[in-house]
Every structure is written in C-alpha cells, then in structure tokens.
Symmetry: C2
C-alpha cells in the first residue's frame, strides 16, 4: 500500500473528488491551501488527484467534525501519510484523542440534561 504515485493510476479532477467525498469544490481547494492535500497539475493548470484523495477528504471531514483544526490535521498527517512518526506526534495524537473523549462526555451530559427536561415536559405538559 505505497503512497507514492503509480504511473498507471487514473487521475481525477477536482469535481470528481468533491462529489466522491460529498464536499464542495471550494472545500477541496481550501484543503490544498491549508496544506492538507497536494495535487499534480495538468499542462493547462488543472488539479489532478489520485483516487486516494477521496478517502483522504472524507477523513478530513471526520476530523473537522471532531473539532480538529486544519492546522492540527496538517501536523498529524505524517502519522499515516508515512510510517514515520516521532514521540511528539504520537503525543499530539493522544492529546487530540483525549480532547475528543472529553467532548463526548460533555455532549453526553448535555444530552442527559435534555432528556430530563423532555421527561418532565412529557409528564407535565
């Protein structure tokens, strides 16, 4: 599962990446601008992506949803872009994991709070 380009791989344009991942074309360009995604260019200047880009964008969306910033994601990209990680990166991974876990617990508390209100308003309309 090499990450390096295969000369025979079919390259796709930005619209196909966007549709495939369920985001806007603008978003894909934004990811490139933030250093999350790189693309080759056709002679005329159009961006050309490998298939992998689609799942990568989906992954970005998932991390965004989890509250990570594009900056943080950029810093953590080497962790699965290559097998090479240092201690600092592994530490950052755990920090983010724990941050997500904490947010989950906050949300569960909020949900339980709303459940109480719902129970009261249902019994007591």
């Amino acid at each position: 599962m090499s990450v390096t380009a295969d000369a025979t791989e079919r390259l796709i344009r930005i619209g196909e990446v966007a549709r495939g991942a369920g985001v806007s074309v603008r978003a894909v360009r934004y990811y490139e601008q933030q250093g999350l995604l790189t693309a080759e260019r056709s002679p005329s200047g159009q961006r050309l992506y490998r298939q992998e880009a689609i799942s990568l964008v989906r992954f970005f969306q998932q991390m965004f949803a989890a509250g990570l910033t594009s900056r943080r994601i950029t810093e953590l990209l080497p962790c699965w872009d290559s097998g090479h990680t240092d201690a600092a990166q592994r530490a950052m991974l755990r920090v983010e994991r724990d941050r997500i876990q904490a947010r989950i617990e906050d949300l569960e508390a909020a949900r339980d709070r709303l459940d109480e209100v719902i129970a009261i308003t249902d019994t007591h309309p």
Copy 2:
C-alpha cells in the same frame, strides 16, 4: 420552586454571576443581548441578578458546548422557565437531543479512528 422574584432574595451583580459561572462579564452581557437572560437594574443602571442566574449561565454553557445556538436556546427556554410547553417546543427538544446524539456518534467514530492510528504508530514507530 417558583421562578417569580422573591422580594427578600439577595441580588447579585454581573461580576459575581460571571465568576460564579466561570464565564466573562462580557459573555453575561451578551446573553442578555441575545434574550437568554434578563436582569433588573439598580437606580444607577447596574444589572442585578438573582442567584439562579449562575446556574442558568452554566446551563447555557453546557448547551453551547453541545452545539446549540443562543437562538435555539431562547426558543427552548420556556420548556423549563415555566411548566408550560407546547407540542412544537417538545418536538424541538427532541430534535436537539437527537442532533447531540448524532454528534456523539460522529465523535466516537473519530475517536476510534484515532485509536487505530495510535495503535499502529505505537506498534510501528
């Protein structure tokens, strides 16, 4: 547990509310501006709050953390401000509860994703 003011209740100023709830004074003023919180005024114009305001602000924070907007919170306030709720409000409560639940599941998926990466980078440094 009436919500109406008790003439003998000790009123507090905005700073005490902010410290008590762990937010900024600016935030408390913002909540008033958004219609989340009301205050009496002293003759000189200073805001005076009942003790209840502190737990109310804490509750706002919890709902903000859960992704509710101040607008949504305003719409749902009658659900526990008074015992009087209509069907539309109870429906909104459930919509928000389900939204939170969905976010929890998204975050759990993101957390599990990071756990995988952590496992790999730990075994495979």
